[in-house]
Subunit: 674 residues, 2 copies
């Protein structure tokens, strides 16, 4: 804190300073002003000082073998990711500049995709079915180059799914079409001759597929379907690839069939139709189709979202709905956390009187902002890896239970992780102060591009309700003696144990060993989920009698969403604990254990109110959890450099000048022209 | 929730559908598919349904007199704000388009400012000293037109203050200069002939003024000061108005005076100097000065931030530091909340089976996102109004106690409100789904432009520490029998009452009347602050012995920041309660009381862990607070339309098509070209 006491007298001194002689001015100024601070001490002294200042523990910093940790963290398909990174590193003209107009960005994004597919020979389409893990690794790497590119790629190739970003053109043909469709479209989709769109969302009806109003009337005379937009609210809106590049669209519409009743037609519900939208040669919009540009977006301006209206468009094709898919990758959080952590280690600010300034990551407040976030990034990485694995397994086995599991887990993880990431990207920006605000340091575009991932299927709120609904279904089955799915398995034991009151003895245990025991952590996470599940089931039953099913659900909506988040957190923790246990290298394992404990205890502390209301933890234990969380943040800060290095993101991927591994400041001054 | 059970059988049906005759296809499809839902019921039935569904209360909706509420909410200076709005409404060519390149945006922003000052005759400079409330009303209105314009205006005119956005060129001359300076510069600053900058921040040293390294060496032979940038880290960075338009800069540098000691000079600490940076006629950068553009930012690209290096630049002027200022206005939160609320009332999604869809604001989850935010927007409005009033009072009386009060309150409110606003803008965007992502609906630019307000003085963390430091000072004075400042006055009573244990009887009171009693609410807020203050004082004393002052402070940093936030929340609540009590119109008063209760109880619930750990509230009371908060959100939802109307923002100020008062959807379809 600085002194503010000088200003008044200085100001009065200044009033008449122009009348004073030079010598008198110097004398007077000398009298009023502070002396020079003493010069900084040596680096070694500073280190000792820090050790003493920051958290005061006598324990030594954990030694981390960065290479080993990085090998454990690297996915199986890092090679193909490196091929993506290397291609763009070798083609600077294909890299997205900091400032670019919407129309130019779209053309560049299309050239990036063409380059990747036709020049670098990265062909994602085959992996959609053959090797989904590899496919997602490519999407992730493309998204690291420019998130617009990742989305554009996804629009073209991804798997069919109603409620998911990746539910798009290629995948809809591949998964939902007949063999005839596949023969006709496969090569063109693969080599980008047939760019296409996934036209589900309407202006009035985003998430509610059953509320869609576009109509496909079957004409028995010609064996065709006639697609119509009956009103403005039914205009297809936000359709990626539609404004500029798309040649085809998978259009969702109510199928109307001729019947013998009074109306003459019958609404058969929503189906998907393949509609050619532009001429293959001239690229002119086809007759009966009106396309407008949805315009400039907050981010992702490399993707050309359009709005489509149909007027008696006749087509022969129909395909059907299916409901599977994946959540987006974690690469962007890793990039943001890497930039914020490296900068916080580099940047110095204030310090003890007459001492050198300290790194801003030595401030407890900065550790509090960034270290639990770094821990969550690790946690999400393992959970996401698990999801990709079971998704891949599901594609091979078509096991029905696995399909349900993947659906609920992907909905929940996608929702939970994207909400968390959106907040984190803002915190990272803020943690880097003014330099975080320079566009070249990337937080702006990372945030603006990521933002919509929270909403791609309506709203994360909708997805979390699906998770809650699934949990309730499992809850009912439990009491009917049915089997529980793998992901939900823990509820079986939890429910029996936790319906009784919390144990008043363990509620007071506050030793570090106990708090860092995975058993305590898992129990705490699961207790909360089980309790929320049991209580919401009771409330739903009660309110259903007076409000009906929909009313009761709405009355309990916040409760249901909390339940879903709680469950997802349990799953994330389980996967993190497993990842720690499975790590073969002892130094990496110790580092991961530290990070995992921070993740678990920070989550418990963030929801300490819930635990206190039911006296699951006594006041002394709550305080011990808080204290240990701060201590673990400090411990993780000590290996923060190694932890972000283990993400293994080269400088030409992170790109932010303030996060360069060496000489960050000189990269930055060079960037602005000095 | 939709059915997902059909897809598998449909898909198999599709496999061979091309081989079937038309009639058989129709038959088979008819068998497999769902029938048409029944048509929607009447509007009246829907309303009754909603009443029953949403929160199930038998109480009727509060009738609000929008005009009266709006009159109470309008500031004293709405006339001059309307003049700003009308000027830009009449000059469409001066309105900022959705997509604009950085350089064009800067030129446009400068033309906007020139238009406002020279054409509309709005002359802010005189009000900086004469009538600060009016000055801030102008800044706020300009910021509503384009936040870049508000900042550009602030850079040119605002009051001198180290740690604040508004601490800039004009104000530094006005407040810190001698009469000679004022005579020389006043008119040119007022009429924009002399655009200028405030050059404090350096690349390595943002917030730490005492760490600045730019040097001003006094030359006794010529009676001049020689300004030098000794190294790259000392380059002045982020200087608004420097990259393009500025002719002068107030430069902060260490004053070096000749002495008789061995070094020959003595460092007299940091002072401010007026430095001409561009030629008045040619606009060429002057000799010895190197200026580069800081480049594209996440937002606020209408402001030309530059980086400056000085090489032996000789100047005759010196002025001095002072430390006062204001927090930014609330207009942008009002705009965002208005857009999100109007859209949520308009947009319909899902609904009970066979019933019409319901407005998304009828969902408990949407109420949970937006209604406490709407309540906070009201709360911040009254707190901010109070701050402007005491600031204005201070400028008239120069009362020292008031100066300290204004400083601490402005630092705290600015920090608290900008952090909250940044989060809220993201939530508003998300609450509007995909349409919130369309740039034309403004959340992107509101968020990106606002974002840096969290960091303008380093980091909000720094400001909150100033508040905490002030509280500790007051705490010490209390025990030494000294007087407490007005804002902190409550600590006197609080401390005596609250150092004892919470009352186990009132801890169980859970009646609505009790929970909505301002006395309970204030007690709860103040209890928390007093407790945090007392405990951090004890911790600081303990750790100081082993870690020294800086180390102890850092060890308690999170605690100190929580304390500062808690204090600011108390002040906000006090001002809100006063505003409710002072409202002359009964219907407006009832509406404000509802909103105030939601603000208070939502804050208590958000921090329920703290209250539970010390048993200030018993479990039954905690649950009652939660339930009442949900109920109040529902009640506020019922008057949400009137509450945002009372902000009295015309459509040409909110501008987002999805928030037009009527025909929002048709505004939107017209915008994209249908």
């Amino acid at each position: 804190m600085e002194s503010r006491s000088r200003s008044r007298s200085d100001n009065q001194t200044a009033e008449d300073d122009s009348r004073l002689s030079t010598t008198r001015r110097i004398q007077r100024l000398t009298l009023h002003l502070n002396p020079n601070p003493t010069p900084p001490e040596s680096h070694q002294e500073q280190q000792q000082l820090l050790q003493r200042l920051s958290c005061g523990s006598s324990r030594v910093k954990l030694e981390v073998d960065k290479i080993q940790l990085s090998i454990y963290m690297r996915g199986k398909y890092r090679d193909i990711q490196d091929r993506v990174f290397e291609f763009f590193n070798s083609r600077p003209e294909l890299q997205t500049p900091v400032e670019i107009l919407k129309d130019e960005h779209r053309e560049l994004c299309w050239r990036q995709l063409l380059g990747l597919v036709r020049e670098a020979g990265v062909r994602p389409f085959r992996y959609v079915a053959e090797d989904p893990i590899k496919y997602f690794a490519i999407v992730e790497a493309a998204g690291s180059v420019d998130m617009s590119l990742g989305v554009k790629l996804g629009v073209q190739y991804s798997s069919g799914k109603k409620r998911n970003l990746l539910s798009l053109w290629g995948g809809s043909v591949l998964n939902l079409g007949t063999q005839k469709h596949k023969d006709k479209y496969y090569d063109g989709i693969d080599n980008l001759d047939y760019p296409g769109c996934f036209a589900m969302t309407e202006l009035h009806h985003g998430s509610n597929v059953q509320g869609l109003q576009t109509v496909a009337t079957f004409d028995p005379l010609t064996d065709e379907f006639i697609i119509d937009t009956p009103n403005d609210g039914a205009i297809k809106w936000w359709i990626g690839n539609a404004a500029v590049h798309g040649k085809f669209a998978t259009v969702f519409a109510k199928l109307m069939l001729p019947t013998h009743n009074a109306k003459g037609v019958s609404d058969m519900g929503v189906h998907a139709f393949i509609v050619p939208i532009r001429d293959m040669k001239t690229h002119q919009t086809l007759p009966g189709i009106e396309i407008h540009d949805c315009g400039h977006k907050v981010g992702l301006n490399g993707v050309d979202n359009g709005a489509l209206r149909f007027r008696a468009v006749r087509i022969p094709e129909i395909i059907f709905l299916i409901d599977l898919g994946m959540s987006p990758g974690m690469e962007n959080t890793q990039i943001a956390v890497t930039i914020a952590t490296r900068y916080s280690l580099l940047r110095q600010q204030f310090g003890p009187p007459k001492q050198p300034e300290v790194s801003i990551l030595d401030y407890q407040s900065q550790q509090h902002k960034l270290m639990p976030m770094l821990a969550s990034t690790y946690a999400f990485y393992f959970a996401s890896k698990h999801l990709v694995e079971i998704y891949s397994e599901m594609k091979k086995t078509h096991d029905e239970q696995l399909v349900a599991d993947v659906h609920a887990l992907s909905a929940g993880l996608k929702s939970y992780v994207t909400s968390y990431t959106a907040k984190s990207l803002s915190v990272c920006r803020e943690a880097c102060g003014g330099h975080g605000y320079a566009a070249v340091n990337r937080f702006g575009s990372l945030r603006n591009d990521h933002d919509i991932f929270q909403t791609f299927e309506g709203d994360n709120t909708v997805l979390l309700q699906q998770v809650a609904a699934d949990l309730l279904k499992q809850y009912k089955e439990k009491f009917q003696g049915g089997t529980l799915s793998v992901t939900w398995n823990y509820l079986r034991e939890s429910m029996n144990t936790y319906l009784s009151q919390p144990n008043p003895v363990t509620a007071r245990w506050e030793g570090e060993e106990h708090l860092r025991d995975p058993k305590f952590q898992l129990d705490a996470f699961r207790y909360r989920t089980s309790r929320l599940l049991q209580s919401v089931a009771v409330r739903l039953r009660k309110h259903s009698k007076t409000l009906g099913g929909f009313g009761a659900w709405n009355r309990c909506l916040n409760h249901l969403i909390t339940l879903a988040e709680s469950h997802i957190e349990s799953v994330i923790l389980v996967k993190f604990i497993e990842a720690v246990q499975n790590c073969p290298d002892p130094s990496s394992q110790a580092a991961l254990k530290l990070v995992c404990d921070l993740y678990a205890l920070n989550r418990i502390w963030n929801d300490i109110g819930t635990y206190r209301i039911v006296d699951y933890v006594a006041p002394n234990k709550a305080k011990a959890i808080h204290k240990l969380t701060e201590y673990l943040s400090f411990q993780v800060r000590n290996i923060a450099g190694e932890l972000v290095d283990a993400f293994d993101l080269p400088d030409h991927v992170t790109r932010a000048p303030i996060a360069m591994k060496s000489e960050a400041y000189s990269h930055y001054t060079q960037y602005v022209g000095f």
